[in-house]
Symmetry: C3
Subunit: 135 residues, 3 copies
């Protein structure tokens, strides 16, 4: 965690655009929170035509949900939202209105990676976590 | 947001049934909460055979999760659950026991659309949000 | 609910491995919480190659998210995380570092199955819920 899920319609993103957007999301999260890159996952879900609706009508939205460790400030959350929104609009053909970014808090203890409950979102706990992992 | 995800097995829904169910979910959410339709997204995830299990055995469930802005009353949540449940049973071949509806609250500030943090779930804030968008 | 979602890359799991992992997740949840099997759903999302990134680079993670009724103790959550992690490593070719397990609480009242709001996570309420269902 973070675990980012990007839902788009088939064909909306080329392989290059996916890689670029994954890079932008990863860099945003790492820079804004200081979280280690190895914990940052991005998954693209490309939906077949006819699977997505907005206001009850077929649509081509870009829906991004990030599950992140709770404990960041409102300013950090807003910076993540804004930078990912801007990256979507810059990298893809999405119109701003079609882009949704949801950043969802979960307590660090709700997630386990590498067989260990995740550390609280701060440098000291994260370094101790990786040090324990290496032993 | 709201962002509704409907998980079914491949072939469970025809294109017509998807459209009808998307319409029922959208109408339910709009009528029960007053939320503007342009914020209501519905995504269908059709799983290949062999991807879904209940009680450890292959199953054909209808799993619906709605991410909604926090702040509605328990009565509104229950009305949404009941109407979507009933729509599933009416529109699809699902048995009541196979239908799960989860309505998950997230604070409005956790979500951004059109490059703006979402308004609180009330008429005045929503109208101000759309007015700001138009400028 | 619980609703477990397992995200892997295409080809990571054979049908036999999926069945075995679904069984392990179901048994873990049932044994650690006492929850009835009929409420335990497991869905596998196999992502096409090129859909998953970690640290901004293509990766082959195993991402598991369980939506569970709130109210269990930290010890129960940890036992679920550990047993599902161990099952992943034992049943699949996943390395420990590539396995993420997130166990997410939602209030019981946020979910409806069989047309009824779910009971609180204890034996008495669950038995009353199933008894009411049979009438």
């Amino acid at each position: 965690v973070p675990w980012y899920e990007c839902v788009t319609v088939e064909g909306a993103l080329s392989a290059e655009q996916r890689t670029e957007l994954a890079g932008a999301i990863t860099a945003t999260h790492a820079e804004e929170t200081g979280a280690p890159g190895d914990l940052i996952h991005v998954v693209f879900h490309e939906m077949p035509s006819g699977s997505t609706y907005t206001a009850g009508r077929p649509s081509t939205p870009t829906l991004i949900r990030g599950l992140v460790r709770a404990g960041r400030s409102p300013e950090v959350r807003l910076a993540i939202q804004r930078r990912i929104h801007d990256a979507c609009v810059r990298i893809t053909d999405a119109t701003p209105m079609s882009v949704l970014i949801a950043i969802i808090d979960v307590p660090a203890t709700w997630a386990m990676e590498a067989g260990r409950v995740l550390p609280e979102p701060n440098k000291a706990d994260e370094q101790a976590w990786f040090a324990a992992l290496k032993q």
